[in-house]
């Protein structure tokens, strides 16, 4: 344990400036520590689980993120009006926005994360790269954010393929792999638009694109007195559209020696930046065990539970205590890893149609409960999944004493996860986990494109199709939902009833 729940609460009241599963996660952690909570929500989220779970809730405004979850003035007002001492930003939205951290500091609120200037320094990926280089940590060749002409010339110099990235913010937003000069300008324009709408800043940088690397990241914790530890790595190589879908800890290919070197490199970057609170240092790892600094995520990661399950450290508790000025209790030699954890992200999306988002109403929901499985979820039955936000619905995280056991538990949990209404990637995730190459731990960031480019779900068993035929024959669709059409086949179904 880093901090014990028996300690005095780090704060009396915390405002959670987020929505969905991460807001639920943070509110629960606050309650565990005896901290009162304030939820915020947009008009589209009025009856969402995070709103119901918190002690108080404040409506921020309309569904559009700019009017609600990205509205700094409204958030600061809500914190002041409710008497919150601190603000936890979750991930996404304003979590890595230095202006938000600064606005909180100005208003006398504790921002649960690093100081605003550290977020600014590390959030600017060019500065972060220079900082890592200066700290003796290798980086991927690239060119800092610039105008279109300069970036195009830089891409020619680096040699295709190259990857475009948002200079501010992460989460794969704006990321485009460009394979030749022809598509460069269009990809750049599209990346700038996407990034502007996600982060309000359209600066884009270009890097050499490494083929077939692994994405490995190191969790760190640092207090404001200079103490820092790393909690080992997470393997996050399985991605679709440059967003992670399956993460695990430890990485199947990282030896204790490599873990120590990665951890030491991560802590060098953290110390050079004056880092405080929980953070993640991302690396690309090539087949020969060489690693390159990518960026620092100055916030809680979506995939933080896998680290929690193998280290026993509650990262949200740690974040709150560090933010309250408490000292880190854990020394590096006390960090111990036990077993293996895997996380699958459940998204409202259609894997058969290029992972297109699939918003809509959740008609029926039954989440799995089984040994060694944790479900971090932000949804409930009857809820409408809005089109305005990220399609993540929940995370299913399985722990086992070894990797095969963790994977078996995850498979069973995905099997028992029932969600009707929006299309989800649940079937896709199961097939991914079942793939022999994944079972062997042979993954890279190109894995999904390589093995699942034309994925289709298996056709139904004849027994299931027979049941569907009975149910289709038995129930008429609600009249209001039936579009006007010529002869209604249901007219011929008089007398069909269930016993």
């Amino acid at each position: 344990m880093v901090f014990a729940v028996t300690q005095p609460p780090p704060f009396s009241k915390v405002l959670v400036a987020n929505r969905g599963e991460i807001a639920v996660r943070v509110i629960r952690a606050c309650r565990e520590l005896g901290v009162r909570t304030v939820a915020v929500y947009s008009e589209a989220d009025a009856s969402s689980p995070h709103v119901v779970l918190a002690d108080e809730a404040v409506c921020l405004g309309p569904a559009e993120p700019a009017a609600s979850y990205l509205n700094i003035a409204r958030l600061v007002d809500a914190a002041r009006a409710t008497g919150a001492e601190a603000v936890h930003p979750g991930y996404g939205f304003l979590a890595e926005n230095p202006e938000f951290a600064h606005a909180c500091e100005e208003a006398g609120l504790v921002f649960v994360g690093p100081p605003a200037d550290v977020i600014a320094a590390l959030g600017d990926k060019d500065r972060a790269r220079r900082l890592a280089e200066a700290a003796g940590v290798p980086v991927v060749p690239g060119h800092p954010a610039a105008d279109d002409e300069t970036l195009e010339r830089a891409a020619q110099t680096l040699g295709f393929p190259v990857v475009l990235k948002a200079a501010a913010g992460g989460g794969g937003k704006g990321m485009r792999v460009v394979h030749g000069p022809a598509g460069f300008r269009e990809a750049l324009a599209s990346a700038r638009r996407e990034v502007r709408s996600a982060f309000g800043d359209d600066a884009i940088l270009v890097e050499k694109y490494l083929e077939g690397p692994r994405h490995v990241e190191v969790q760190i914790l640092a207090d404001r007195y200079g103490a820092a530890v790393h909690l080992g790595e997470r393997e996050c190589s399985l991605q679709r559209r440059h967003q992670k879908i399956l993460e695990e800890a430890p990485s199947p290919v990282v030896s204790p020696q490599l873990r120590a070197r990665l951890g030491e490199a991560a802590l060098r970057v953290a110390r050079a930046a004056g880092y405080v609170n929980a953070g993640t240092v991302e690396f690309l790892l090539d087949r020969d065990g060489r690693f390159y600094f990518l960026e620092v995520n100055t916030r809680l990661q979506v995939e933080h539970p896998v680290t929690e399950l193998v280290t026993g450290v509650d990262l949200v508790h740690a974040q709150l205590h560090i933010a309250a000025g408490h000292r880190l209790w854990l020394r590096q030699e006390e960090v111990a890893w036990r077993g293996h954890a895997v996380e699958a992200r459940v998204y409202a999306e259609d894997p058969e149609r290029g992972f297109a988002p699939s918003p809509g109403r959740i008609l029926l929901l039954r989440e799995p409960h089984l040994p060694g499985v944790r479900v971090d979820s932000g949804i409930q039955e009857g809820q409408d999944i809005p089109v305005q936000y990220d399609p993540i619905l929940a995370k299913v995280v399985a722990w086992g004493p070894n990797r095969p056991t963790a994977l078996a538990r995850l498979t069973q949990a995905l099997h028992e996860y029932v969600l009707l209404g929006p299309k989800t990637n649940l079937g896709f995730l199961r097939d991914l986990v079942a793939h022999p190459a994944f079972r062997q731990g042979e993954v890279s960031t190109g894995f999904v494109e390589q093995h699942f480019g034309a994925w289709r779900p298996a056709p139904p068993r004849v027994e299931v199709a027979a049941l569907a035929a009975v149910l289709l024959a038995q129930t008429k669709p609600a009249p209001a939902a039936v579009p006007a059409r010529a002869p209604d086949p249901w007219d011929r179904l008089d007398g069909v009833q269930l016993p």
Binding site: A356, L420, P457, L467, A469, L471, L472, A478
Partner: protein
């Protein structure tokens, strides 16, 4: 009762089934087999079915023409074949929205000539931006949405016509 023919479709998969009432429930003729089916619902949408010797728990919900069904660890969206469920893209002269979302930019005007593959409009949903392209070279007849409009998946956004 007289048997009812149901054309069952799921994704690209299709089969014709004949549903007859029996003293224990139903008999479904499908794929050349007669499968006895007994259905016991515990609450609406949740039940246990005996299908040809197999016992399975199921979860179901009806949404317009779609029967959402979870059984044996898989989730399916069944419909009666012939009923269009997934929005069809570029059917006729319409270039329809591939998903529900917000039209963030319209890239063409009525009367404009477009080349196959040219971007027509930009749709954003759940923070993902998608450029919707012209399926073929044509002339823009009408634009049915403006930037900022929210559209349902399958809604017609741009109408194309053959060039005169």
């Amino acid at each position: 009762m007289t048997p009812v023919r149901v054309a069952v479709a799921c994704g690209g998969w299709k089969a014709t089934a004949e549903v007859r009432a029996s003293d224990r429930g139903f008999v479904v003729r499908i794929g050349g087999r007669d499968l006895p089916v007994e259905v016991r619902e515990v609450r609406p949408g949740v039940g246990v079915a005996q299908v040809g010797g197999l016992t399975l728990q199921f979860f179901s919900a009806r949404q317009a023409e779609v029967l959402h069904l979870h059984a044996l660890g898989h989730t399916y969206a069944f419909s009666q074949a012939g009923e269009s469920v997934a929005p069809r893209e570029a059917e006729g002269g319409d270039v329809r929205a591939p998903m529900s979302g917000v039209v963030t930019r319209v890239l063409v005007e009525p009367g404009q000539r477009v080349q196959a593959g040219q971007g027509l409009y930009v749709l954003e949903a759940m923070k993902m931006e998608t450029v919707v392209h012209a399926p073929r070279s044509a002339r823009v007849r009408r634009v049915l949405a403006r930037a900022g409009d929210q559209v349902e998946g399958g809604a017609s956004v741009v109408e194309l016509e053959e060039e005169p």
